[in-house]
Symmetry: D2
Subunit: 345 residues, 4 copies
């Protein structure tokens, strides 16, 4: 029985650990594993190679994906679905394991509805996929962001500065929240709550008056600025923000830093972490989660649990409907805002 | 309202993060926080100091505990309970938050049954406490052990050796299992399954015959040797093992290494990680969990949830009966043995 | 005998290790140590505190500086020199140990020429100070930059991208060269050699043609663009560069990335590491170097070696004239360009 | 022109970086590179393979050696020299680059004296090779040992314990000295100075009396115990030590810990780091040094500098006579003992 596996979307530490686990488990089920190159594109272009224990040896702790990846969506390609179906038939592929985030799993859901045998593995450093407590890659991203916040702390303190650290998180603030709590940030700004920059400035002024002459602000890249206060409305009229409070140019970190400096007079610096959060060796935590997902996904194929994906519930790996993963974004719950006590919306 | 906090038992990364979170939350509840020095001993000796935001500043990421710790158990001290009660009364302590493992929480459970107002916070790098999905400190221990396994891997491979890595885990194999999976170990030995050294040796010989001229064996310190095979019985008669399969002298890692070398003829080395697994800065994951536990424990005092402890269920922090934590050990479930495929019992 | 110590200029991992070593050594010489707050400003404002073994305990591995720092230059302040002299007399300060970079040591040199007893300790993450083989802080900056390049590598490879990583180095390319060699960069651009972007683009195209579908470009922030090629001249006329080849807006990393994408058509991303390179815990290497510098500086005071600074020569700590440190920048020697084989000027 | 390369002796982070650099430089000189398997054994057994840019891609940061290694010494094998000569002739090998420590370079020196064209690259994590300021691998070992000492510190402090950390260093105390200084150890014991355990105990008692209720002792594995004091002589009569002060059984760390506990009554633990110090990814510092050594060694072949090895002098790479490397051990100079102020001999 031939089973194909693909990785789609952005980079995420742990992809190779999933692939390795699938291949090892497959040999017990007697599956022949086929690696599709560059996500769904590998099916459209009939570009693939055989995966064996040997070709997946030594990759457990390596970042990236040996399969390559792309953002190609078969439903946005002419005759895409037809071509996918033909490739599956031509190659005698029994089932496809799709490892990916919102985009990849949405396509997987639709294909499954079209009758294809698909099993999913959720992947996102942002942790915004529904239907699973956590995804691999998130812990690594938090680990890297926290190390950065730790380093920025000492400079902020010695130099009596405000330092704004922009982390990943386009739609949700999981990385910002975790790295902010772990790094002891003084302000955390997330997409879930439009940021009230005036309240932020006042908080920093109060800290300063109390002898805390430095502060760390962690902001998720997708954070919008709250437009109720007059000063923030100016950011729209000057073209810095659009009418939803999103920065027009550059990252939100730069705007937050500039506004803090303008409103408080405190010397403020910004650090934008960017891609270092999604590359390189996964943490031990993510390697274990990725391995368990891979083993479970393979077992799902064996059991015929199609249209579903591997998911983490408590410390158990379970099967969850694919549609559930993309039904809505998993946002940071209120409890965290209370724990951190440093959210300003 | 005065609330006392203590840390008991062995070192565990994240203790300071719990203390800091408790103190910060306490200031919102209007509690006055008192730090007891060296666990229950601080109550017996009336040795304590005031905890404030200032005295707990900058400790979030630091290992150890600013409160000190000891293994003193009031129930094993003459008039211990009486002295504890008097100290609580004399100092006007409304409630005690006890951060600790099996020993500390057992004493806490009994005190609670004696009518004292106690809230617990579970602590163990071994992750063997029942009633909570995870405890802080465990992720850090796994992180350190995995880094060690990664490093040993390259030496094993270049030198065509077997390397045995002994990790912590007196009663359960959580650290060995996680570090073994994350590090890609070829054999994992845990207290849950008596180790069949002959099966281990045969597995390593098969690997070697297949061209894998090196192997990594991860063994938890509490692993016992299975005594059914004749050769293992000899270890009892020679005095290396007692009749339960426990090593009489030295660690189990040394015995496993010596037996592998004797049975296979492969050059074998042992590395005993020891205390580096339980000291130093906690991982980001553990800092967040520790902080959430601390905030929740403080809220439990405010809500009067005594005789209970903070616990993790999925990604939620909940309150769980103290007695539940020590009712039985939380062992590694079978699923992990299947995931790793490298357990030999 | 009273000896004062100050730290000036930007943050640099290892400052606290120097301070700690000075204070410990001072107690053997019988010096009373005085810490000046915020660099030379502490002398101008008479703002200082006593340094003892106790107040410098536990700081060896901590980033930042417990003395605080500033860029205040007494020679640019009205009556600055006069005020410094009076403060030294009023407080009975026998000598001042100034830990700092180009700015701080230039002021120190002039003060020394004015007859004050000054000993210097060279500090710069950029490693551009003359008269010493290395300065502390540099190894830590390289360590952090290399970790980042390692992480970017896996993403570049999986996603078939060019990733440009901008590192610190305003006047020299030491960090870029070391991190580039250590991280296996495919192109390294440094201030010492104006960058020939057309040659860079052609190199990346050749790599791609040879099957290397990804590349890592490390660029020092102070790199200028070579203006001989026609396409680069356009960057001047469009206002992106000034006539010396320096970017007018934003960092040079963004311009290099944009130009690579335009000239090659390859998807290109940029990562600007920024302040995380100069904060946080120093590497073991930097802690040892900083400690040796501190001990030596204290001995220099005892021996009356004023107007000089501690310096590293081979693996020996020696005394060097302060003026030597700032006489000229220490540039990356040609040998490194040949070693890396990936410089494009 | 065909050039062979081999790696001999124990594992050392950076070996692959040297190999990669040699192969890349070789392609510029037009050399054809041949990799000998398992050190000199590869020549004796005629076991080798071709090294190209492709086969050495992606190994820069990987621990171990792709060539394998052994401790086989041709001068201890029957007709060893003759067989080496014949293999060189048969394969048309113009020159051999030998990367190794004391054993490998001693053999290389003799072969060179026998007229063979040999170039050396010094390798030892212990940093005990003469003729070069530093060797690659040492910085990585110090980095790992310092991380361990940092972690042990927090446990020692919280638990009011003495912790003894045994690090590598059979003949010299470089690793112990550097990790001890970097980790802020309270006692450092090295092979250069027989350890006076009574003086150590008294020092710890004084610290304790002064309120420092914990201590860290770093001891190099090759440290001998000073036998002048009566109590230490007992260790000989009880068989714990031989007459040179070397432990008969187990490591010196265990004896030091046991004796400290016996003489002071303080709870004392020991941690033996072992092989984790010599495996895994090299630090950035070691990758750069290894790369520069590799490039230089290749240039030495091109220039005909045989019977010599690459060496670091200040920040320059130079050529040094092979015999110089093994003439005597490079011991830790006295200056370091004064810097650390915590040696007890």
């Amino acid at each position: 029985m031939k089973v194909a596996v693909l990785t789609g979307g952005g980079d995420c530490p742990g992809l190779n650990a999933v692939i390795r686990a699938i291949v090892r488990r497959a040999s017990e089920h007697g599956f022949e594993m086929m690696g599709l190159r560059d996500g769904w594109k590998g099916l459209l272009d009939d570009n693939h190679f055989r995966l064996t224990r040997e070709t997946t040896s030594g990759i457990l702790h390596r970042g990236g994906t040996i399969l390559g990846t792309s953002r190609v969506n078969p439903f946005k390609v002419e005759n895409g679905l037809e071509r996918v179906k033909r490739a599956i038939e031509r190659n005698g592929i029994h089932a496809v394991i799709a490892i990916g985030g919102e985009g990849t799993l949405s396509a997987a859901t639709r294909m499954s509805q079209e009758g294809l045998r698909i099993v999913g593995v959720p992947k996102t450093i942002d942790n915004d996929l529904n239907g699973t407590d956590f995804t691999f890659g998130f812990d690594t991203a938090v680990h890297i962001a926290t190390e950065a916040v730790d380093r920025l702390h000492s400079t902020a303190e010695s130099h009596k500065r405000v330092i704004v650290c922009e982390v990943m998180g386009r739609h949700v603030g999981w990385i910002a929240t975790y790295a902010g709590i772990a790094g002891g940030a003084d302000v955390i700004l997330v997409p879930e709550i439009p940021a009230d920059l005036e309240a932020v400035a006042q908080h920093l002024v109060r800290r300063n008056a109390g002898g805390r002459t430095f502060s760390i602000v962690v902001v998720a890249e997708g954070t919008r600025i709250k437009l109720s206060a007059d000063q923030n409305e100016q950011l729209v009229t000057t073209g810095a923000l659009d009418e939803a409070g999103r920065p027009r140019l550059g990252g939100v970190g730069n705007i937050v830093a500039a506004e803090i400096e303008r409103r408080t007079g405190f010397e403020t610096r910004v650090s934008v972490l960017g891609h270092i959060q999604r590359g390189g060796a996964p943490t031990a935590h993510d390697r274990v989660l990725a391995t368990r997902f891979g083993v479970h996904a393979c077992d799902m194929v064996a059991r015929g649990e199609f249209g579903m994906m591997a998911a983490l519930r408590g410390n158990d790996i379970v099967s969850e409907h694919l549609a559930e993963a993309t039904r809505e974004l998993k946002r940071v719950p209120k409890e965290f805002f209370e724990v951190a006590q440093v959210f300003f919306g």
